[in-house]
Amino acid sequence: MASQAHVETLALREQFDTEAQQKDASTLGMWIFLITEIMFFGGMFLAYTVYRGAFPMVFAVASSSLALILGAVNTVVLLCSSFTMVLAVRAAQLGQQRAIILFLILTLLLGGVFLGVKAYEWKDKFEEHHIPGPTFHLEGVATDQQGHAQLFFSLYFAMTGLHALHMVIGVGILTFLIFQTRKGRYTADYMTPVDVAGLYWHFVDIIWIFLFPLLYLIDRHMK
């Protein structure tokens, strides 16, 4: 086809020849972005593995000090949000504008709940002196092991913090999508942004699916 710039639309940007090509590119782009995320969190998982292997007892005690119920509830909340997200994507595939908006808003709310619970947990940690730093102290751990316990909490905050940051970004994306949908940007033929945002949201969910057992569950029985 001729290279003369055709009229650029959202569904077909200048550099692409066909809409299918553009969709393939966006989807592949998102998946590649997600594997960079795997590697990014991978560094944290590695640090966790190393230190848990080095100080299993202390990690057991520290892990048991987390609020199991809150963690489990938050997992459920996040799974619910994934469910509503997938329904939003489905609505987009079918071109049901109002359903998209409804499910996106639900997802957004659930994401908000998750962040709220997380903030509440962090606040608790703050009051209990479980924040890494000079005032750090964890009951049930010998004085010379406090450093190791602090390592657990350093990882806890780094991992949940980064996860929460991803959630915040996700919330931003959802908000953007809601406004765009209201403007009628997405149709059954062009819903790539919703689709791709869905991938992102589910990915963040998967990260939590691993953080939950690693931080809250493993070794709890050893307490």
Binding site: L34, I38, M39, L46, F212, L214, L217, I218, H221
Partner: protein, 99 residues
């Protein structure tokens, strides 16, 4: 456009499965299975990941390329963990400090 539109029922079933696994893993954590606690907890997490990835992220309808990308990502994470742990776990194996 999208070739595959899954039914709400499929999604609901997957969702129910995910909730069930969450409850199960939380419960099992309080039971002492010795070293198997870790295995069970991570096993369940992997199952949940598969459910989300295959159904919610539509990997089961995806192109080979997408599947390859995902497997590649996991493989690379595996490389990072395995080769680093190959050092950490064999430290001092010669019975000489630092060797």
């Amino acid at each position: 456009m999208s070739a595959h539109i899954d039914s709400v029922k499929t999604y609901a079933l997957v969702f129910a499965g995910l909730i069930f696994l969450t409850v199960a893993t939380t419960y099992v954590a309080t039971v002492d299975l010795g070293p198997f606690s870790v295995v069970v907890a991570l096993g369940i997490a992997v199952c949940k990941m598969l459910l989300v990835a295959l159904f919610f992220m539509h990997i089961r309808h995806s192109t080979k390329l997408t599947k390859l990308v995902v497997l590649g990502g996991l493989l690379w994470l595996g490389i990072l963990l395995t080769l680093t742990m190959s050092d950490i776990l064999t430290r001092g194996a010669l019975g000489v400090p630092g060797r």
